[in-house]
Symmetry: C2
Subunit: 249 residues, 2 copies
Amino acid sequence: MNRPPARTLPLSPTFSPLYRQIKELILASLESGEWGPGDAIPSESDLAQRFGVSQGTVRKAIDEMAADNLLVRRQGKGTFVATHNDPHSFFRFLRLAANEGVLPTSRSVPLECTRARAGTDVARILGMAVGTPIVILRRVLYFADKPVVFDEVYLPAELFPDFSLDFLNANDESLYSLFESRYGVRMIRADERLRAVSADRVSAAALDVAEGSPLLLVERVAFTYGDKPVEWRRGFYSTANHHYHNELS
Amino acid sequence: MNRPPARTLPLSPTFSPLYRQIKELILASLESGEWGPGDAIPSESDLAQRFGVSQGTVRKAIDEMAADNLLVRRQGKGTFVATHNDPHSFFRFLRLAANEGVLPTSRSVPLECTRARAGTDVARILGMAVGTPIVILRRVLYFADKPVVFDEVYLPAELFPDFSLDFLNANDESLYSLFESRYGVRMIRADERLRAVSADRVSAAALDVAEGSPLLLVERVAFTYGDKPVEWRRGFYSTANHHYHNELS
DNA sequence: CAGTGGTCTAGACCACCTC
DNA sequence: AGGTGGTCTAGACCACTGA
């Protein structure tokens, strides 16, 4: 008697629960830009009505997306699309901390921005053909006027067509914040590989350390919706007074 | 009419939802050893009856504890206390991967196990008084017969009274698995700080690299129930053919 | 088959925010 | 006061496991 009207039957093979299908629908709306970063999405009851499911099912879908850092819930106000333009999320992709005390304010200093074509490595990592146009950005992050991180960033030129140093100098927002507001490319996940290396001439000069000093090399592949890789980054961290912080659980 | 019998009222200040109180109760049972690692805990309906709440409330408590890696749900079978004695959880606290291919099987070779008294650093980190007895273990992890990680492990002697190399040689289980089965100390969380350093004489010898080579230093503080620190570890990783892997989301 | 966790619903009420 | 998310309940049914 309690059975609601018939719905697409799951039935064993390739079974996907309703709330996951709802999640995919909301994800599609995010990807299509129906709701942009920072926007409020419709209330749970609105979405429940739109999708023809109960509020609890929408709730479970949103719960997972909030756990994935795609949405942010704020009690009494609504549910919002996560954004990188938010001081809190600055350290989500920068696991840097000072050995003692709190990390002082940072300053990003772009060094150069060049155009090139993907070699075999970049092409493989970003899932593109060898020779595809790319943009290369080099910059240094300063903390308390000391250089700490030297970054080399590789981007597909197609997604970031008019990228240049000008935008960086004019903006003190984070790189991912710029990507999301100017190019509509939202980074949602990243894989990092960490190694210890000896500083070569370029990174030693950028970080003001002796050539051959040990540096922490952080290689990152960042992904946007649909697990599409859209950034490759090599960051050289000077770890004399700072460290990379990670919590295991 | 739908109101269940009266319950301890939350009422604004220091409000904690019911499912969180249930979580604390289950946590207490874990801590007290009522259910040991690997054991099945009572079914959701049993717990609901025991605590006088609905099954959905118990469910939400268990959901959070499963997300915290304290419990493991297995559909159709039950809910189990998480254990380190499990090949799957071996890499939960060892974020090591091979640069190419899969990581071959590992072999842990203990070098020495000594007794000492806590200096200021260890005392501060482990929350004990200076001079408290500690145990120091040094060992090397080999992959495909190549040394990759040189570990120095500092433990409070009180919790690991008869710790010695013998137990290690006789056991090919992981260190945390041994801690949990032999000493009843379960590691549930850890903080790691990563830096690049130059190999000193000791670590260079242990890892068969040249003195001064860049090594990845991973300093870890591991915590048991109640966020009590019970291990400090300095791991020197040789990252020529391996790397520390981290996923950001 | 019975027992477990997993999904879905419907409805009530609470906590929080804004107007 | 009215909206939002957050909690809690009760009950039905589904999917998985193992005897």
